[in-house]
Amino acid sequence: MNDKFERLCEAFLLAEHTDRDALTDLRVRLEDLLREIGAGPVAESLQALKGIVERILTGEESDPARSWQSVSEEIARLQERADTDVPTLIVDGGSGGDASSTIAASSPAGPPPASPELDPEILGGFVVEAREHLDAADVQLLALETDPSNVEALHTVFRAFHTIKGAASCLDLSAMQALSHETESLLDLARKGALRMAGNVLDVVFEAVDAMKQLASDAEAALKTGRVPAPDAALGDLLRRIRGMVSSGAERRAGPVPASPVPLTRDAEEPLHSEDDPPSPAPSAPAEAKEPVRVDADRLDRLVDLIGELVIAESMVSQSNEVRSQASGGALSRSVAQLDKITRELQEMGMSLRMVPVRPLFHKMARLVRDLSRKLGKAVEFVTSGEEIEIDRAIVNSISDALVHILRNALDHGIEADPAARVAAGKAAAGRVELRASHREGAIVIEVEDDGRGLDPEAILAKAVEKGIVRTGEGLSEQEISQLIFLPGFSTAKTVTDLSGRGVGLDVVRTAVEALRGRVELQSRRGRGTVLRLRLPLTLAIIDGMVIRAGRERYVVPTLSITRLVRPEPGQIVRLLDRDEVLSLQDEPIPLFRLNRLLDVEGPAEERGGVAVVVEEAAGRAALLADEVLGQQQIVIKSLGMNLEGVPGVSGGVILPDGQVGLILDVSGLLGRRGSAALALEGAR
């Protein structure tokens, strides 16, 4: 509730008295809060605020500007009162008192963890930075694993822990401080040559990185909920193990060096190392060079939305009849051209703001592959390329799970368990998995390639028959059979392991990628390996779309899902039985749908002519017969509001240049609307 109150105060301070939308929001929130807190001085103030808001809304306030001023003052007073008079507002502020005990037992003089009065901004910033350091440490640890003598990598890892330790102790995050302190001691011994960064030691540092990441997430969660999660019991165990290694390592170093190095001495050494830049591409290096500014993601999204609206407004102006009727070369048309140019540049800039390199994602995957290969006992060489390729932030988040899934498949099913079998097949004993990103044809392509067994068509077919996905394999080519693994309910894992298990097939990957308006392609050569290719749009907010007309309505089909446009000749459209029609394209029948009929478009249906838009998606291939293709354009996707997002066949709206709303057709959904058995078969083949 405290949280609600704070957000309300914030909303009040941000709102303008002229903004009806904000005011109605505020009123509802006030009501909401009032219901919860019951009577009291705070409730009275809130009631008074509600009165003012309502009077402004109804136009009864004679001087809204002035009364709004008094609102701000009232809010400030309220906030002050809430700060001193906490119990009336905070129901569970999560003092974290119980949480400290576990840690205090194992940490040197641990002050209580994450105190609620911490400045959220500072703590938030710390979490972000800690994550960056930890990600960098992860990368360097992987480098150390291949080359234990890589001193630079070791220094980077050391610095990461050292920096976090300093910040954590300032912020009273005792668990993080304790863990980073111990890990730092361990790394220090390694730096001095008393320990070798390999085997157990390396494993425990990997574990420490994971535990630190968890603690960072906990601290972040504590910011939101006001509750500090109880630390994992495993943490105490990890601390003990690290300490054990530190003391045994120190003993081996025998005598002269103090067993538990004092942080101060290391601070003195620090400048020696921070000056030399790591030659390997540490993720923080380029970022530092460019002086990044941290911006709240929501504000960024809002900015990009606004730019999208500006683009629409601009095209409404430049394509209006008034402007077009002006003589070209006139002052107005010159200004409009200038406006057009600036708008496009702004749009590009806006889009680039959302783009992030895939590097962190790839590093995460490197770590995953390392852990997996150990778990499975398979030696795997993992290679990445194209880490600098940039992609929409939202896409990164949604393909992460898909990539995990694909990589698990590659390691679990792709790479042979027996190195001898690989050697016998003329391949290196260690498996090789590649993760690549590249730009191709205006899209981002992310590929996962393994040099393992490849798909086994017979096993796949047998499984598909067993699962009742297809009846027989007759007439299916190898390519078609390999497509079967994308169907729901298909998973070739013979036993459900905790790796590829869970009975989730590649259909999830496909669904995720198609939800992003992307595509999944698969190439496999038996005995030589498999390539899975995710073709993704550059950005989610804007798509390339083909605007088509059916009757009075205009629709947009994402260009990515269009394979070709055909003006059907008479005789190319064949009617099967009494109503289903197919478009015969190079002797291949494709189910044909007349949009007018499919979407119940008003107005007379044009039986003759038209353009068939051939689309291909998971649900299969289909031809959509439209009256006319109006052209291709970049489209800013708009949610349809309410929960119309779930309408089958429509994936969103778009504001057309004349200000009207057009609908973006979702091909899979459309086909589902008329989903017939014939179509399902078409999809399977």
Partner: protein, 178 residues
């Protein structure tokens, strides 16, 4: 705001007094709480969305934002009538699952903003089996006529408007359960 149902009629009546935007629909006059009204816009070309209940005429562009519009005539099972130049869209904000949702209501004509006092109010008569009474906050007697005060949250939360399958997060949910 689903708990509004459970409240006592008496309390509701007292809370109902206030300012209302009145509008005409067929031969009747209805009132909408002014606090919920965002703005009034002229009727523009509505894009039909296939597969939606009849009550939703489609979507329109409200300054770069796509909002659904509800045909109140259809909602109240009145016979449909050709739009006139007086037909307009009242844009309201309703709350659903803690989220503010902007919706347009197509009405025949907008009349005026009227203050309605408590003594002008009457409780909603209960008709057995009548499905439309939950939409009403109360009835105001403003001579020479009666104004029905609509509970806009109720109108727009009735099941038919939300019968659309929520598909946005389906893939994720599937992944969890399998």
């Amino acid at each position: 705001m689903s708990d509004a149902n459970g409240k006592e009629t008496v309390i509701r009546l007292a809370a109902t007094a206030g300012k209302y935007l009145t509008f005409g629909l067929g031969d009747e006059v209805y009132g909408l709480e002014i606090l919920k009204v965002q703005e009034i816009i002229g009727l523009m070309r509505v894009t039909r969305v296939p597969g939606l209940p009849d009550v939703i005429r489609g979507v329109v562009n409200l300054r770069g934002k796509v909002i659904p519009v509800v045909d109140l005539r259809r909602k109240f099972s009145m016979e449909s009538k050709a739009d006139t130049e007086r037909t307009c869209i009242v844009v309201v904000k309703v709350w659903r699952d803690g989220r503010g949702v902007i919706v347009g209501l197509i009405v025949d004509e907008v009349r005026e903003v009227q203050a309605i006092a408590e003594e002008q109010l009457e409780a909603v008569p209960r008709f057995s089996g009548d499905v439309e009474t939950p939409f009403l906050l109360g009835i105001a007697k403003l001579s020479p006529r009666v104004v029905m005060l609509l509970d806009v949250d109720q109108i727009l939360s009735s099941s038919e408007l939300w019968a659309v399958p929520s598909g946005a997060d389906r893939p994720a949910a599937e992944q969890e359960t399998r």
